[in-house]
Amino acid sequence: QQPVQSPQAVILREGEDAVINCSSSKALYSVHWYRQKHGEAPIFLMILLKGGEQKGHDKISASFNEKKQQSSLYLTASQLSYSGTYFCGTERGNTGKLIFGQGTTLQVKP
């Protein structure tokens, strides 16, 4: 079952914040976040394991609500380099098999 991401697209000015959500109808072991720029490979941002932990990576952080099977990616004080398509990948066991959402396109303007 493919996770559902929202919003589908967002446009920001530099310095603004954004939140991208990822919801699954199935119980999850982990949620992974990737960013992909046009014509490039998806780049790993972070992984969240079940347990409701929150992680941070520079000005990008994420949370995982195990009870709701929802994860959110927080981008604060956005930079031009944050532009790209963000994918969440969900995993139902520690298998390495990720099911990706349809993606959220983020555009940061000067």
């Binding site: 994918f87 990948g89 995993e91 520690n94 390495g96 099911i99 959402g101």
Partner: protein
């Protein structure tokens, strides 16, 4: 440290033909997964190889097959190509110990066009 490399980068085939795509995993990784990414969509899991065996498979027909070699490199074969097979094919490598210790590292992909 070499990352994941895929070849070729682009490929054009005719409907009904067969194609082979190749992938070399990141140094130190032993598990290879293949994903299909249609334009504007998220990657879809095809299958995963470890110890030269297919360990997991997604919802893809038997026309999609693979192989892993003793050096951990992998091939994806697609027979009887359909127009709908046109997509970016991504290879990702990781460690068999699982995602908690080893997230997926993706290659730049092979862009397959079926005419």
């Amino acid at each position: 440290d070499a990352g994941v490399t895929q070849s070729p980068t682009h490929l054009i085939k005719t409907r009904g033909q067969q194609v082979t795509l190749r992938c070399s995993p990141k140094s130190g990784h032993d598990t290879v997964s293949w994903y299909q990414q249609a334009l504007g969509q998220g990657p879809q899991f095809i299958f995963q190889y470890y110890e030269e065996e297919e360990r997991q498979r997604g919802n893809f027909p038997d026309r999609f097959s693979g192989h892993q070699f003793p050096n951990y490199s992998s091939e994806l074969n697609v027979n009887a190509l359909l127009l709908g097979d046109s997509a970016l094919y991504l290879c990702a490598s990781s460690l068999a110990s699982g995602s908690a210790n080893s997230p997926l590292h993706f290659g730049n992909g092979t862009r397959l066009t079926v005419t």
